[in-house]
Symmetry: C2
Subunit: 173 residues, 2 copies
């Protein structure tokens, strides 16, 4: 048994997750100190976070480490000095998931564009929560890319928030 693999990410209407330079300023319009769009509830069900190196480097710049009490695996081929107990993995995700399962990890949060696409490529993503931010950026880093295998999903819910964010949740068919 491998862990359940989950994606939870904000995208523009033209399915970008960041500007070309990595900028996230366009998220400001939906950031709300009183509304986390289910993030805390989602994270409470997650045992491990698997993220790409560039997402990791971004997160290191935050005021505080957001993954305290989670197992964290950084996908990278480059050296890394763990600061919060994080470990490193390179290569396919499937063997990593097998290892995590043996360590009693039940649910994995896959984060970062490259990592999410790798999960979709390996067809190991079990659920997908997309928070649609009501902007068309007209350019940036796309979440999906040409060449991903075709996949069908089951819609679990669609929810409108007062900020203008629409969240759609899917599980793999």
């Amino acid at each position: 048994m491998r862990p359940r693999v989950s994606v939870y990410i904000a995208i523009s209407l033209d399915q970008c997750i960041a500007r070309d330079d990595g900028g996230l300023d366009w998220l400001a319009g939906v950031q709300d100190s009183k509304e986390d769009y289910g993030y805390a509830a989602f994270m409470a069900t997650v045992d491990a976070v698997v993220l790409g190196r560039s997402t990791y480097d971004t997160v290191l710049g935050f005021d505080s480490w957001p993954f305290a009490d989670k197992r964290v695996v950084v996908l990278t081929h480059r050296p890394l000095t763990p600061r919060f107990g994080e470990s490193v993995h390179a290569g396919a995700l499937a063997p990593l998931m097998a290892t995590l399962a043996s360590q009693d990890v039940r649910r994995v949060y896959l984060d970062g564009g490259v990592t999410i696409r790798q999960g979709l490529e390996e067809e190991i993503v079990d659920d997908l929560t997309l928070s649609l931010v009501p902007v068309i950026l007209g350019g940036g880093r796309p979440l999906f890319s040409d060449g991903l295998p075709e996949s069908a999903w089951r819609l679990e819910s669609a929810q409108a928030y007062p900020s203008g964010l629409a969240q759609v949740r899917y599980s793999r068919r």
Copy 2:
């Protein structure tokens, strides 16, 4: 006063509106003879349809002409012999909208990928209804493209349908 300009279109989760060859087979999973996802109600408010040549050629292949009782304008530089009273336009959309307004057209349905992008480029789209089809195609004809001007939208509603289609409606901010 120009008419209200509306977009109403089905897209995959990776924001494609057709496969590379124009194929729409992936829509089959959400096609339902008892559910039109608000299309008839939307069309009842539309006075004119403005569509690109390739969408027009596709529509001509349908069993029946779907735009009876609507003013139809085809965007094309190539010759066209009207079969249902359709007229032709080439060039920017703004002057066409002015002409349509003078002909008592209050709301225009903009259809076809190239035409919709042109409307977004000219910043004349007033509302956007996106029907998210629960598939990742992994390639095809994208609705949005790099180089569109950045735009912000107001979420009007998000609705989940039993078929798995999620419809989000936006108006321009």
